[in-house]
Subunit: 244 residues, 2 copies
Amino acid sequence: MRNLLFTISYCGTNYHGWQVQNNAVTVQQTVQDAVEKILQKRENIVGCSRTDAGVHANMYCFNMKTDSVIPCEKFVSAFNAMLPDDISVKDCVEVNENFHARYDCKEKEYKYLILNSKIRNPFYSNRAFLYPYKLDEAFLNLQAKQYIGKFDFSSFCNAGSSVEDTVRNVKNASVTRNGDIIEFTVSADGFLYNMVRIMVGTLLDISSGKIPEDTIRDIILSKDRNNAGLTAPACGLYLNNVIY
Amino acid sequence: MRNLLFTISYCGTNYHGWQVQNNAVTVQQTVQDAVEKILQKRENIVGCSRTDAGVHANMYCFNMKTDSVIPCEKFVSAFNAMLPDDISVKDCVEVNENFHARYDCKEKEYKYLILNSKIRNPFYSNRAFLYPYKLDEAFLNLQAKQYIGKFDFSSFCNAGSSVEDTVRNVKNASVTRNGDIIEFTVSADGFLYNMVRIMVGTLLDISSGKIPEDTIRDIILSKDRNNAGLTAPACGLYLNNVIY
């Protein structure tokens, strides 16, 4: 049996996240339906992570075991013909039979886009979080560096997750500006539930003065979700890179 | 009576262009409906140009004569509260009573975005023209320079326009690349019907060899629409700047 690794991208606005749910349109469901149209049978597909409703992916990976002999490049074009415009299949490669898109992932990178403007931009509707107050990207970049390291990040995990090990190794975190778009980029060996969105909310609360500056390390060490900031909205979040 | 000049931006995907039409949702109609909700009366609004269905605007201007005493900044926020997310009002200033958003326009700039990739990008769906064949931006930039000058551009005007004077002064034209996005930028004192889209289609036909290189001047001088290229799709076109 072949094991195929697919790389896709999607605009998450019209989806209730990746994972199949009852009574909601999800990316996984949409992809599985496309597979069924192509192969005339259902196949089990395994995603690299759950993403929340409205979250986007510049890069997302899933693997699928199948008896089909369709060559990889044909799969890419068949998929793109079947899928809606807001999901695109970029690549397909054959991997060994034990490969698992979630467990074998070594590192992921997320981006979070903030439209730092008093006035909305129609081209960033549902694609960035509109934040009208002053943001100093150099200051926030310095604050963000305090996320880097191997820590118990339970202060940055919302209820609703069943994981027991809350230690994660954050390898990079930075804040940059391009015009009125502020971009927070973070990579780690894994992320807890809503972790990136709480990291962003905490940076915004530091910017506004609600949380004192230079306290991110203390917030991490407190292991208390109440000490971190609000959960920033889903619409600004993009899974940006998946490394195996 | 006050005369107010508004600057807006809009994503044109869900609109049948600017101009009010029967049985179709247009940007002008949507803006007029918002005015009626704010002022409890209809006001006549005058746009800087017609745009086709699906065409976008990073910057678009219209003026409105009104007896209302609402200050300009209040108008901006009231408008943004009333309008859908794909239209944004950026600015409002008071102008003299004779100002006319179309007739007083000295120069406009358009951008045309081409996604030069074999595979679609969900974030450019309806926002760029997907063109999968090789494009050499340096070569196309040189070709585009031949558009610059004051000419009769009737070769670059589709049927359906009622203008009699088809002479336009093209001030700048260039092609640049940013990753897999090719951007054609052109500014002129005015544009004929579908002029930018035919300019882009002609560049693509030159790239593919269907039209010989270095013939843009000849095509212009022939004053024959049949000699120019296809009309590129509306979804890649953005009104980018309006100068008074």
